[in-house]
């Protein structure tokens, strides 16, 4: 059985149109450098909330273990308290009874906070979307930063999603920026 696996091209891996737009905007050199420093630190120490509802949670655990080891990217400090967490990974189906609990957990997290929707269920309800008791996508309850398809997503996909989140964190500006594009059109 010869299976040819096409790996992702490195350029594709970095490709993300939404982030390119953010990056295109300019900034003051001092403030921009300060922002870069802060974002570099923040993006490499994102702490997830220990939160899993079903199957995806097991893959999440597998990523925490030695083989995939997400501590290489600074994610290993999983926090049991939402007050100490930077992002919440919605790993698994969210049902009607769980929805207020998830909302509350999200509200309890300190800003800046991020959400990753892991797996088909969290994105849209997935295989359970016809059910009477399943929320059709967590983005109806809380804002989502990264969507990660799969049922359940492989650990590699999870790592990729986490890196996408890092990229998103890296283009954030705390001290404000200048929008070059808008200037040009004037």
């Amino acid at each position: 059985m010869d299976v040819k696996i096409k790996s992702m091209k490195y350029d594709d891996f970095k490709d993300n149109e939404a982030l390119e737009q953010l990056r295109a905007a300019g900034t003051n050199i001092i403030m921009g450098s300060l922002d870069k420093l802060i974002d570099w630190g923040r993006s490499n120490s994102l702490w997830p909330l220990t939160f899993a509802t079903s199957c995806c949670g097991i893959e999440y655990m597998a990523v925490g273990a030695a083989r995939y080891d997400f501590s290489r990217f600074g994610f290993e400090v999983t926090r049991a308290s939402p007050r100490q967490a930077d992002f919440i990974m919605v790993a698994g189906t969210i049902v009607h009874k769980m929805a207020p609990v998830l909302k509350r957990l999200y509200d309890q997290m300190a800003e800046p906070k991020y959400v990753i929707a892991m797996g088909a269920c969290a994105i849209s309800g997935g295989p359970f979307k016809d059910s009477y008791h399943v929320v059709k996508g967590v983005d109806t309850i809380i804002p989502v930063d990264v969507y990660m398809p799969g049922c359940p997503p492989r650990p590699e996909a999870l790592l990729y999603a986490l890196m996408q989140l890092q990229r998103k964190v890296k283009v954030e500006k705390f001290f404000g920026g200048v929008n070059r594009k808008e200037k040009r059109t004037k």
Binding site: M1, S54, C55, T93, H96, P127, D130, S131, C151
Partner: protein, 547 residues
């Protein structure tokens, strides 16, 4: 050994319930009117010739004109099974006498039936919803359920937890009185554990009443991952319904799917090739290995031994690799299909299994060195949460947890399926019934699984990996039940068919529901820290409870 078709048994049943009707299908069925239901249940449970002490599966039913329950009873002494069926025609106020005083497992199961069908059980101590919110409108598994989302929108207001429950008492004249019973008194110190707590292994909610550090009572609140799989299956064809079984207990994905496939195959009368049986057995055992290794990792982590988590996951990844090569999936494999398996095994599978059989025993020794022999670990598990054998049977606690209490309940031995009658293995049974026994049983089962794999690795018969089935699969009319030994206990599938291409009612007998049911009994009088050890060694998977 008795024969249930025996005339004297029938006479006995008729003497207690004169209106009982019999149906001699594959599994003997007794139908009684609701008035005689409790009396007959009592007789079936305590009569020396019958002793149906194990309520395997309670299924709520909506037959359109009537609502009712179908109980699958088993006798652990006589090795017999029987369906006990009852129904009421009143759809507004359906009432059936409760059998919670006869089988403890009925307490939670009747709450489930109440939740799904709105059938009130008279004499039941605690008639609350269990999976759905208290303010849910309607009973979802009824055939005339109104699924309009305007009735039940996603409510983002926090659910009000109520400290009282309703008890329906049958009084003279065929009337029913409702009483209010307090679950938690005013001023009782109640601590919430979950629904978001790392030690509950998922989204489970315990409300624990404490006296200092001592647990007085545990109230289980499920449903935080209730996806309504049984209802969805009713509108799907049989091959489509297979997909959901993997997602019930994802650590027993193969075994769950195996159960549904076998149930359908038996109903169709399909002859399964020997090769398929052996492949399925191998996959079931690999799944058991992966599940028990995860159990070990997580239990140790719950008890504070973080290193063990990495050890266990390192070895579990090797099992996942083997499964992935053949099935293409790490966790959800979708490998079994009706009539066989999806594709032939990978040519390297046998080689890898043999390597793994050599690899794991030294690792198990390492496990023992780091954890089993550890004084702290032993003190946290020995004599903690002792479950007596009678209680295990009454609650229907099967699998490694039941066997740790001395109940030889392994389905692989009791009702051999697939290739389990061709292999030799020892059923791990202990008598202590405490957390440590539950832990040791699982470690021994890892060794036994390796032994089974060793016997099968070189003996896979040649042949097809699947038999051809019709493009549209229609089951004949009737009731079908099949169970397998999943990683956590007896997983059963109950199908009621009306001859269509989709099931009229499908019910999954979850092995984990009895496991949370028994937490209250085990934790009472113990310390709150012991609750973690008890939960860890019972090893429940929450999506399997909630379905």
């Amino acid at each position: 050994m008795i024969n249930i078709n025996d005339k004297c048994i029938k006479d006995k049943i008729l003497s207690v319930a004169p209106d009982a009707a019999f149906d001699e299908a594959a599994i003997f069925t007794v139908t009684v009117p609701a008035e005689q239901y409790h009396r007959l249940a009592h007789c079936l449970r305590y009569d020396a010739d019958m002793r149906f002490d194990y309520l395997l599966c309670m299924t709520g039913m909506d037959w359109g004109d009537a609502l009712g329950v179908v109980n699958l009873l088993e006798s652990t002494t006589h090795d017999q099974s029987l369906f006990l069926k009852t129904a009421v025609t009143d759809r507004e106020n359906p009432e059936i006498p409760s059998v919670a005083d006869i089988w403890e497992t009925a307490i939670l199961n009747e709450r489930e039936v109440f939740d799904y069908f709105g059938i009130r059980f008279t004499g039941h101590p605690d008639m609350r919803r269990i999976f759905l919110r208290n303010d849910w409108v309607g009973y979802p598994l009824r055939k005339d359920y109104n699924a309009d989302e305007a009735l039940n929108p996603v409510r983002l207001a926090n659910e009000e937890l109520i400290d009282t429950t309703t008890v329906y008492e049958a009084v003279a004249g065929g009337k029913t009185e409702a009483h209010t019973r307090t679950v938690f008194e005013e001023g009782e110190y109640v601590v919430n554990i979950g629904p978001q707590h790392p030690a509950t292994h998922g989204v489970l909610h315990f409300r624990v009443s404490l006296e200092g550090e001592t647990v007085k009572k545990v109230d289980v609140n499920c449903g935080y991952i209730h996806r309504g799989i049984e209802k969805m299956c009713e509108s799907l064809t049989y091959p489509q319904a297979l997909g959901y079984t993997d997602r019930l207990d994802y650590l027993g994905a193969h075994q769950n799917r195996h159960a549904l496939c076998m149930c359908i195959e038996e109903a169709l009368g399909l002859e399964i090739p020997d090769r398929v049986k052996v492949i399925r057995t191998i996959m079931d055992e690999l799944q058991r290995l992966s599940s028990h290794l995860l159990f070990w990792s997580c239990l140790c982590m719950d008890l504070g031994a973080l290193t063990a988590f990495f050890y266990g996951f390192r070895d579990r990844e090797k099992v996942l690799n083997m499964m992935e090569e053949t099935t293409g999936g790490r966790l959800i494999q979708s490998y079994n299909v009706i009539g066989g398996v999806m594709n032939d095994i990978h040519p390297d599978l046998i080689k890898r299994i043999k390597e793994f059989i050599k690899y794991l025993p030294p690792m198990l020794k390492e496990y023992r060195d780091v954890f089993t022999g550890n004084v702290i670990a032993q003190q946290r598990m020995k004599d903690i949460g002792v479950l007596a054998k009678e209680m295990a049977v009454a609650f229907g606690v099967t699998g490694p947890s039941g066997r740790a209490s001395g109940w030889a309940c392994d389905v692989r031995k009791r009702k051999p399926y697939a290739a389990y009658d061709k292999v030799q293995f020892k059923e791990a049974v202990r008598t202590e019934g405490d957390s440590f026994a539950r832990y040791l049983v699982r470690i021994e089962e890892i060794e036994q699984s390796l032994y089974i794999l060793e016997q099968l690795a070189d003996n896979i018969p040649a042949g097809d990996y699947a038999v051809k089935t019709k493009p549209v699969i229609k089951l004949p009319e009737g009731r079908f039940f099949k169970s397998v030994e999943a990683s956590r206990g007896e997983f059963g599938v109950y199908i009621e068919s009306r001859g269509d291409k989709n099931p009229y009612r499908i019910k999954f007998r979850s092995p984990c529901l009895p496991l949370v049911d028994v937490v209250d009994t085990l934790a009472r009088g113990g310390k709150i820290a012991d609750l973690i050890a008890i939960g860890g060694t019972l090893d429940y998977v929450v999506p399997d409870i909630d379905r």
